[in-house]
Subunit: 187 residues, 2 copies
């Protein structure tokens, strides 16, 4: 499903991939849509545990933003982006499943936007709409799933360092981001 895309994958393909008959596979999963929903729920569980939970513990808005970008990008770079791409297949879900995933995505979006709003209140955000800025951050992070290949020249750490710098400077005033960088260097 990750390799061929959701629509192009048949229950036969799935049965072949796990070494079961088509009849056997229905003992474990009740159809393709249920499997897609389970994969998406797993992906959102990972975002909850690996990104949102640690970020919520960080009080400083800039540090929270860095935590979110770094943890999410690191996961896609190290684990691979196939599941991230499947998270786009919203139209394939039943209405009830789509509502569940939409509301989980929304909670993540809101966490980032609230962080940017906090930066704006502190005078550290560029003069941009926090909603547009949030989508710019999502574009940079989620797009990694489309282009990064672990067998290429760039290591996950190379990409991560540059991506965090690019993403933070995209939305934060440089004076704010730079003064923090100087503090870190001085330590």
């Amino acid at each position: 499903m990750c390799r061929k895309g959701y629509e192009a994958t048949s229950m036969n393909d799935i049965a072949d991939a796990v070494g079961l008959t088509k009849a056997g596979i229905y003992h474990y999963i009740h159809g393709k849509e249920n499997l897609l929903f389970a994969i998406m729920s797993y992906a959102m569980d990972m975002v909850d545990e690996d990104v949102m939970a640690p970020a919520r513990k960080v009080m400083d808005a800039e540090q929270r933003l860095r935590t979110i970008v770094e943890r999410h990008a690191k996961r896609i770079l190290e684990v691979g982006g196939a599941v991230t791409i499947l998270l786009e297949e919203m139209y394939a879900l039943t209405p009830a499943h789509r509502r569940t995933i939409t509301s989980r995505k929304r909670a993540y979006f809101d966490l980032i936007r609230r962080t940017l709003q906090q930066l704006a209140a502190e005078g550290k955000l560029r003069d941009v709409n926090p909603t547009v800025a949030t989508f710019c951050l999502f574009g940079m992070i989620l797009w990694i799933s489309r282009w990064y290949h672990r067998d290429g020249k760039l290591t996950p750490q190379d990409v991560l360092t540059d991506l965090v710098q690019t993403a933070v400077n995209a939305v934060m005033k440089t004076s704010a981001a730079q003064s923090r960088r100087r503090t870190v260097v001085a330590r």
Copy 2:
């Protein structure tokens, strides 16, 4: 095809959409893959004419970067992102068609990366790998196709202004970007 995705769309759906019988539609298009290739070729023609050709006439690297981001984002915001999303369906193409589209995408990628390399030579690029920076710009621009709805609160011009600012500051040192902004204001 834009609404349901490539795989979920049948030749019957296409015939219905244009008011022809399934037999009639084959008079005009020789199968679904040919139609997808024609749509992707059209999308790349638009990038050539609307983005790459005007950008190639701009000698100044920063101004060329702004031209590329602004023209591409404007097109997605004003025309809609459905065709941009279809450009992702590379696995559905025949090998020969895939080579053609890949080489056209590559030419566009190279134009942006060369622009960033020129900025780096001028000391205006952040200390980031130009390849990673190019993909960050693509992520911000192409992601618009997934989130922007013209019936929402944000006008295309609202988003465009913020997106250009965010994208340019993501990759350029702020001292360089700011001095240019001051020049513009002073005119």
